[in-house]
Amino acid sequence: MRHTWKLLSLLVVMSLLLAACATPVAAPAGAPAAATQAAGEEAAASGEAIKIGALYGVTGGMSSIDEPGLNGFKLAAKQINEAGGINGRMVEVVAIDGKSDQTATTSAATELIEVHKVVAIGGLNDSTFALAAGPLAQAAGIPFVTAGATLPTLPEQIGDYFFMAPFGDDAQAYAIADYAMNELGAKSAYMLVDQAYDFTTALARFFKERWEANGGTIVLEDTYNSGDTDFSAQIARVKALDPQPDVLFISAIPNEAGITTKQFREAGLAQPILSGDGFDTPLIGEVAGELADAVYYSTHASLDNAAENVQAFVSAYEAEYGRKPENAFAALGYDTMNLIADAIRRAGSTDPAAIRDALAATQGFQAVTGVISYPEGERKPTKSVTIIQVQDGVYSFAAEVQP
């Protein structure tokens, strides 16, 4: 008999769990009563909040760039609401944690679409997750704007409901390669590539492609894996090169940006160091200090940029979160939300298909990270690339490159 009781209590617990999962999440305070899921058109009539999904890996491996991204995203939504919303309706951001895990990210995407009935989704800063979640939004006909995944082939691979807010890795790799050749007069390059990430390998691939196409030579290509703390073996190989390369291209994620710079400089290698937006982190200056010299990287925006909208964003972010934007992904998150809002405004409707069409028609949208326009039939923006120079540990704007 005891056995039966145990079984029964288990069943009760399980059904409670299922029930807990199946109950739609109650509407938060502040938002109009939105517990019942209404279709877009009905909602428009009643003036209830427009639901927009924010999908980020706020915990786990991606959190150091996804958390600032979500903060930027929410800040934009807050400002939109303070300014009266979109076409008179408030915005409600439904932010789900993808836990930097593919299974959790895909369930979160489905939850946004099926349970919360969002009209558009933004977020994700890595192609691994965008490639898993994007097709779900595509199949459901919900526009998805990736805030920071820079793999240039993403929109082609996923479909016509998938948009990129950032430029592609090709653009940023070409920009830094051209800058090094034209402005720094470099002819030969050394490459150090983190093998662990899609992003770092893609960036290196595009850099090499451009560099060689323009007549430059790659003297040595070396690799490491994210998490390595010691680059002395790789450095020793560079030092043994004769003649020495003109520039050092390091394809790394933020965690390794400071340490590689420091170790290369300590070893007496003084050539300019080049990289992409993986180097966009205060760690270079903090870790390498005065050794952080002649470092050039391409990225989305310079937060020192005097442009009004950039400074407004920086001060608003600081006022909201008590710290400066951690990195460019905060600005990208902010731009993503505003880009979606702009499309909804122009569409004059919250119908996902109409939002998609409006997104695709985006021209000259003034974002913190540059001007976003989608060329006819493309969903990867033509967008200027910013080159930042670090000298004596101080970051400064070096150039803006139009692709």
Binding site: A26, G30, V58, T59, A95, D97, L131, A132
Partner: protein, 336 residues
Amino acid sequence: MKGSTRNLLVGVAYVVLLGGLLWLAQSTLNNYYLRILAVIGINIILTVSLNLTNGFTGDFSLGIAAFMAIGAYTAALLSLPVAMKTASFPGLPEWLQGIAAPFLPATIAGGLLAAGVAALVGVPVLRLRGHYLAVATLGLMVIVRIVANNWQDVTRGARGINGLPPVSNIWWTFGWAVITIYVVWMIVNSPYGRAMIGVREDWLAAQARGVRLLRTRMLAFTISAFFAGVAGALWAHLITAITPSSFSFVITFNIVVMLVVGGMGSITGSVLGAVLLTLLPEGLRQVETALASGGAPVYGLSQIIIALLAALVMIFRRQGLFGGKELRLPGMVERE
């Protein structure tokens, strides 16, 4: 009626019942819940099959993510449409480029290859026991992952494979889950299973009674790897994008926690652990999301609560929720 015949009939009745429930779910639930259900199916396969080595045979293997990866990559390479292969895999052997296999054979091939690797690796690795075996299998996982990261022609390295046909659904995952449970149950209740439990309880005595240690453990290891490979294939076609980092320690640990919380050495416990620890994080995440919309972001809390619960179960019920016991389905007759 003979006990076994009766059990077979009752078993079939339960499968029909499960089919009915799935059909009900399919026709009433939206894609989100169907997706969670599909994940539950996959986790049941993984947990039940891991139970064969870790629970019944007492070999603590942490290599599950390695076998999943092998199954996932194999199935993905077989099922990918030909046009995509020629575009994305110029380095692939010709014969493989021309194939776009249906899902079932691709899944089975994934399982078989995983089992094959297990058999190959098992010969040296199964000479180890205990924590040494745990570390060795963990090492296997790292090696598989790094090979996937570097073998550009076949795996596309860190870029991974994406755009897989999204064919995985509750029917496939629960279908395979039923097969897994049936096979593991049959093994455990066969002389082989007795031998496995013997190896776990006292290998010396088992050996003295004529149990061939290596063969018994190898059987458990390969069968477990087969189903892990199948689960990997199912997972790959659910997520549709795989990279080497998809198969990390995290997956292994999650499954081990499901197994131990459910109770090692109990199939019922494995199933329950898989269901519970798939649903609970999902439910808690909804709470997180609701709190975040209310202005109090507490992302990370769900992981902490799950960890706390797992620790509490371990402290107050160290044998896991089900201990070594099985839930007897009403109507089944005990075979002894």
